[in-house]
């Protein structure tokens, strides 16, 4: 490794159980302070609604899906989750900087080209984005935060995300192993 890791010393990553306790503590703090857990896809939805609103304001107001986020002149970017995701960006960057992991890189299996990896990432992202709206939240907001409050929705979403990924893993193995 070219750079020194200022967080864990000689190990590349933090012990996963320690990192999990750290993440769980942040999640608990979020509940204690705000009454809600963490999220990610909600902030992306805000960005999409804002963009659609700039392009076609009347259409956005009339839409059953977008309309509720902009009623009464509300700005969808003025949301708790948008600021939280900006924090994720900075927090991830700080961690990467301290651990010596800041590099432009397309990570892919030697079986596939970088170009194919990018195409698959776009398709996977589109599926995840679509599914996160259908399921009212992603791994952070629905599965992790949902499970922490013991909500049935959280457990069901978690099992359906991971169950499906396991079920289809065999068919996509060439892309990863």
């Amino acid at each position: 490794m070219a750079h020194h890791n200022y967080v864990t010393g000689t190990k590349k990553y933090m012990n996963p159980y320690v990192a999990g306790i750290m993440l769980g503590t942040v999640l608990l703090l979020s509940f204690y302070l705000t009454g809600r857990g963490l999220g990610a896809s909600g902030a992306m939805k805000s960005a999409v609604v804002s963009t659609v609103n700039v392009v076609a304001p009347e259409y956005t107001q009339g839409s059953d899906f977008y309309g509720k986020y902009i009623t009464g002149g509300k700005n969808p970017m003025n949301s708790w989750l948008v600021f939280q995701v900006l924090g994720v960006l900075v927090g991830g960057f700080l961690s990467g900087a301290l651990a010596g992991r800041l590099t432009w890189k397309t990570e892919h299996s030697p079986n596939i080209t970088a170009r194919k990896r990018i195409v698959l990432a776009i398709i996977g992202g589109a599926l995840f984005g679509f599914g996160s709206q259908f399921g009212r939240g992603c791994t952070s907001g629905a599965a992790l935060s949902g499970m922490a409050t013991l909500s049935l929705a959280g457990f069901v979403t978690m099992m359906s995300i991971f169950g499906t990924a396991f079920l289809f893993a065999y068919f996509f193995r060439k892309n990863w192993i």
């Binding site: 990553y13 933090m14 996963p16 990192a19 999990g20 306790i21 750290m22 769980g24 503590t25 942040v26 999640l27 608990l28 703090l29 509940f31 302070l33 705000t34 009454g35 963490l38 992306m44 899906f65 977008y66 600021f83 995701v85 994720v88 960006l89 927090g91 991830g92 700080l94 961690s95 990467g96 432009w104 890189k105 990018i118 990432a121 776009i122 398709i123 996977g124 992202g125 589109a126 995840f128 599914g131 259908f134 009212r136 791994t139 952070s140 599965a143 992790l144 499970m147 409050t149 013991l150 909500s151 049935l152 457990f155 069901v156 359906s160 499906t164 396991f166 289809f168 892309n175 990863w176």
Partner: protein, 200 residues
């Protein structure tokens, strides 16, 4: 008494500052665990790296135990804490589509932001794709509206659905997690891929 912000009258600026700081911790923890690497995340589904399982369940247990104890000592009003609303069909269908997105794309929305922050180009592509997916849902919403709103059960807790106490459910989740951690550690030896682990 928590939750602090909904109970007290906190200004929007402070609220957003707290959001940013909470996100900072979230992103830092994800990146430290190695969630900024798609090949590390995908290792979960092939057994060579089960960091997803370990971090996800340790975090969930920490937070659920914390909430149970805060409630027990009357430090938080769980009536004000948001419980995810359960719509049977949409939770399952959404989860299935997300699971497919996970194995194809290698990230989830939160981890893609974290990985993009350290320069992973595949994560930036995933992020771009997720905007397209959300837009696609928004544009085709009338097609899904019926099934999306079907079978609403409200903010239902699993403990109430099966008729056990919250504490007993948390205990059960911890027991299940310990068993899964053990399987995870075994899988990493059984399906180990030193060639991949060395690179990620």
């Amino acid at each position: 008494m928590g939750p602090i912000i909904p109970i007290n009258d906190i200004s929007m600026e402070i609220n957003f500052l707290i959001a940013f700081l909470v996100g900072l911790g979230f992103g830092f923890a994800l990146e430290q665990a190695g969630f900024s690497s798609s090949r590390k995340l995908a290792g979960m589904f092939y057994g060579y790296d089960t960091v997803v399982l370990k971090v996800f369940f340790t975090a969930a247990i920490t937070a659920m135990l914390g909430l149970v104890f805060l409630n027990y000592f009357e430090l938080i009003d769980l009536g004000v804490v948001y419980i995810n609303e359960y719509y049977i069909e949409s939770a399952i269908i959404g989860g299935v589509i997300m699971g497919l997105g996970f194995i194809v794309g290698g990230f989830c929305p939160g981890t893609s932001v974290c990985a993009a922050a350290i320069g992973k180009i595949d994560a930036i592509a995933f992020l771009g794709g997720s905007f397209l997916g959300i837009l696609a849902f928004g544009e085709t919403y009338p097609l899904w509206e019926n099934i999306y709103m079907k079978n609403y059960l409200g903010g239902l807790k699993l403990s109430d659905a099966v008729g056990i106490s919250d504490g007993l459910l948390v205990f059960g989740v911890i027991a299940a997690a310990v068993l899964m951690f053990w399987i995870g550690e075994w899988a990493e030896k059984r399906f180990g891929r030193p060639d991949i682990t060395k690179e990620i």
